[in-house]
Amino acid sequence: MQDLQFGAWVDDFLAGLWVTVYVTVLAAVAAVVVAFVLGIAVRTRHIVPRTIARIIIELFRGTSLLVQLFWFFYVLPEFGFRFDPLAVAVFAFGLNFGAYGAEVVRGAINAVPTAQWEGSIALNLTPAQRMRRVILPQSIPLMIPPFNNLLIQLLKSTPLIFLIFLNDLTFYSDQYRNSVGNENFIFPLLLVIYFVLSYTFTLFMHVLEARANTRLGRPVERRRIFKYRGPQEEEAVKV
């Protein structure tokens, strides 16, 4: 059997794994903030915030993430804005995935029945209170599954950051292949690591979803992955 010489690489790999996770989590937090701000702004009555939000969303959804990354890294410094690579990564990923997330937020808010808005108007809540106290708590459970999709895509897009000199998991795998040459070992291992990471995120999102639903008075059993989920039996048991 070939000598894998992996022992010497373990520290580098762990450092790369840390960068991957770190960038994913920070960018996800940034993306959620961007998604809520843009998603709410894009459905306001006032034309100025609505237009600005729509332009940002379409711009960041409609152009390549890689080009955005380069743009923040190479073009902005020309105008005197210089950021370290980590900030650029969080910024670019946050805006790009936040733009997709804004559509998720907008859709989930629109999915809350009109009756809930009317109930909150009849109680004379302010527009901000309607959103914060009534509409958002009901739309968040609807956002979580599509957010989970975006989170996994975000994780799997992070290898792009080696182009702005951040040494992530994929970077070290490539280094290893260059110097040791065991591509039959390292790339299958890399696939497994990404899968484990994304499945961990998925499980975490399931917990969030279950908690959000419990808060709406619809307690759900813990998600079992292979369970058949046909049309649900309607409604909770009436008391």
Partner: protein, 275 residues
């Protein structure tokens, strides 16, 4: 105008004959696109008066309630609530379209109970009742909880403070919705087909609760219902609508037993036949 038909029960709460109307519709016009729902509509409701709106669906009854609750915008004319224009605000000596801040000021006086309850599923029963008193009326949590529990007890739900709306029957949910509306201490209560979505066996309980509230408070009520017995019991005045117009109005005894118009006769015949 509007004298209660059963003088004994309503003596203390009946409509005042004089003074400003609680609600006044003045040449009200409401269109949805090209469809005219209300046109040239004028009527007054006195403080403490309970008025039932009857008529076929599409006749504009629910639209009247929704205009008062500011859930629909007014196309033309004026609506006055307690002497103040609802959809317009005074600016100099002119009336200009109301902004949200002004609407909130006038809306304070009005509460509504919906056909589908519209409870907030993200809150417990007690939170549904206390949310607006805390956030809008600025009550302390303790004060709101105390008042909320009192109201829930009154509607027969003292055992359900911590339940979620989804755990209640339709009748119980509607009782919570009634308590929630009353918690805001409205001067005007709008009841929009509040028993239409309930199982038949739960209807009587909700109607009895509303009868009790009608007898013990002097809240002005506008009621849209197909429950003619209930309408007859609680209202001082019945207004028959068709095609966005008042066909006729009068005390319930008159309207239900001896209506003047054929349209009213045909409608009542159809509704009572159905029962």
């Amino acid at each position: 105008m509007a004298t209660p038909e059963t003088t004994t029960a309503y003596e203390t709460t009946g409509a005042r004959a004089s003074g400003e109307p609680m609600i006044r519709f003045e040449e009200v016009l409401k269109k949805f696109g090209d469809l005219t729902v209300l046109e040239n509509l004028d009527f007054d409701v006195a403080p403490g008066e309970r008025v039932t709106l009857i008529g076929p669906s599409g006749s504009g009854k629910t639209t009247i309630l929704r205009l008062l609750m500011t859930l629909e915008t007014l196309t033309g004319g004026h609506i006055w609530v307690d002497g103040e224009p609802l959809w317009h605000m005074p600016k100099g000596d002119k009336l200009v379209p109301a902004n949200e801040k002004y609407l909130r000021q006038v809306r304070k006086k009005i509460g509504m109970v919906f056909q589908q309850f519209n409870l907030f599923p993200n809150m417990t029963v007690l939170e549904n009742v206390t949310e607006a008193p805390i956030r809008v009326l600025g009550k302390s949590r303790d004060e709101a909880n105390e008042k909320g529990k009192e109201l829930l007890e009154r509607v027969g739900l003292e055992a359900k403070y911590e339940a979620h709306p989804s755990q209640l029957s339709g009748g119980q949910q509607q009782r919570v919705a009634i308590a929630r509306a009353l918690a805001m201490e409205p001067r005007v209560l709008l009841l929009d087909e509040v028993t239409a979505a309930l199982d038949p066996e739960l209807v009587a309980g909700v109607l009895n609760l509303l009868r009790e509230i009608a007898e013990t408070t002097d809240i002005t009520m506008l009621i849209v219902t197909h429950e003619m017995h209930f309408a007859r019991d609680v209202s001082h005045k019945v207004m028959m609508f068709d095609h966005g117009q008042v066909v006729e109005h009068g005390p319930p005894d008159k309207i239900f037993t001896d209506p003047d118009h054929d349209r009213t006769k045909a409608f009542l015949h159809a509704v009572i036949e159905e029962r």
